[in-house]
Symmetry: C2
Subunit: 218 residues, 2 copies
DNA sequence: CGCTTACTGTGAAAAGATTAACAGCGTTAA
DNA sequence: TTAACGCTGTTAATCTTTTCACAGTAAGCG
């Protein structure tokens, strides 16, 4: 269970993509094997990159036949922690929060979105997309009964840091933040600040300064 | 107008964050100057990183007083292309598409979301959040009249690649894709595949394998 | 069986991104 | 006017990530 040290964020993200790709291949294709260059091509990466990633999680294939799909799927799932149930909570049931609720509820039974919170009395004390919505004042109480490890923040920027602190105090050790502020957390908590505005402005930038010059995406 | 070669994606994203930070500082603070270490601290970065980024876009400050806020704001805006109007279109008016419409409409007058498309007849031929919604069959026709450089894809995975091709044929040179497939485009088009599932699974991974081991976020 | 082929696993090289370190300078204070 | 200070701009060092390149290996084939 003790993971080896220092697997990079990039690698974990790619494993997540491989896993979903394999899931779909496993369900639709009857070929039980797959080569690194096939995975690579489907994910827009190089074969060397794929082999290195699989090496990092300690998975081995066979030369001349490649990787066994079912085995690799199992291995990637186990690496990502799908072997035991993980619980998540979401704070901020606005447009974005609702989209995420809709999408992530019941997508994976071991990845349970079990509570949502909002400050607006009109949005709580009901069930949206199957998830119970509570007043944000009850955050600590509710999380105490649920063993939640991961939080999603979709509140306005000025409330985000406070919500993060409350989540951490409630025992959350990983946060995905969509508010456009850089949230600070203790060193033993993982924070991903996902800034959609930056992402869009980046695309617009390269859409402009790019159309004439070549470049293959990373 | 010819930008110098090879500014990294990471740098562009950070410039976007600096720009919004400066906008807010410019509006609220009466100090016309700011130091690299102040920007750094507010963005969760090192001062050296900030100075390097500003050097990259060719902006100079004064020793002993730092950077002039208004000037830097102007310079970052101009770098990102806010000097002339940029037009965007969105395809897929589902939960996520609607959240993005709501958020990006009228956020910046030079960054115009001017059309949305969907295959569902029940969702088109009306105005949502101020944006006109068209049947996806009219995509090429409508974009031809609008000079759109940037597209946002929020359709289901199996439709995403086709939509991308249509956008490219309609003259779009940058695409932000939320569907969980790796979209391929010609080399002169910029594509950003933003996979929210990977982001969330990454957070969950580190939330688990992390709480006991230190680590300072990138 | 042994030869051919096309793959994997992986050190080593290359490329890319961040951080350190410091010379040089403008400002302020004396 | 000069000295001290604390900043910027930038080069060099470091750290990280990706790619190259090839030895080793299993399968297919004659
Ligand atoms: N929607 C997007 O496409 C988009 C894009 C970029 C960034 N964001 C960011 O994501 C966040 C959410 O965006 P949105 O469009 O869903 O906003 P929204 O205004 O629709 O939703 C925010 C929700 O948070 C709730 N809220 C406010 N203060 C709260 C508090 N202290 N505790 C609990 N709940 C609270 C509000 O009641 C509301 O339901 C914002 O920070 C926004 O800047 C969103
Ligand atoms: N909502 C999320 O939080 C979330 C998270 C991760 C990934 N995604 C991805 O983002 C995309 C959109 O997610 P969503 O939750 O908004 O889905 P959704 O089902 O709510 O919306 C999809 C929309 O696309 C439209 N559509 C379908 N085929 C089309 C076509 N060929 N042309 C034009 N429009 C078409 C549908 O009518 C619908 O309105 C999906 O690919 C999903 O996998 C969403």
């Amino acid at each position: 269970m003790a993971a080896q040290r220092k697997i990079s964020e990039r690698t974990v993200e790619r494993i997540s993509r491989y896993r979903r790709l394999l899931e779909s291949i496993h369900a639709t294709s009857d070929n039980p094997f797959i080569y690194s260059h096939e995975i690579a091509s489907l994910c827009g990466l190089t074969a060397a990159q794929v082999r290195r990633d699989l090496m990092t999680i300690g998975f081995s294939g066979s030369s001349a036949r490649g990787y066994e799909v079912a085995e690799l799927l199992r291995s990637a799932s186990s690496f990502l922690g799908f072997s035991h149930e993980r619980r998540m909570a979401l704070v901020g049931i606005g447009y974005l929060g609702r989209a995420l609720l809709d999408y992530f509820v019941d997508r994976n039974p071991l990845f349970k979105l079990c509570a949502a919170f909002d400050a607006d009395p009109g949005k709580v004390d009901r069930v949206i997309h199957g998830v119970r919505c509570y007043p944000v004042t009850q955050l600590k109480t509710v999380l105490a009964t649920h063993q939640v490890s991961t939080g999603i923040i979709t509140v306005p920027a000025d409330a985000a840091q406070n919500i993060a602190w409350e989540l951490v105090e409630a025992g959350v050790t990983g946060i995905l933040n969509f508010a456009p502020v850089q949230i600070r957390v203790p060193a033993n908590v993982f924070i991903e600040n996902l800034d959609l505005t930056s992402a869009l402005e980046k695309v617009a930038y390269f859409a402009g300064n790019f159309s004439d010059k070549e470049r293959t995406k990373k």
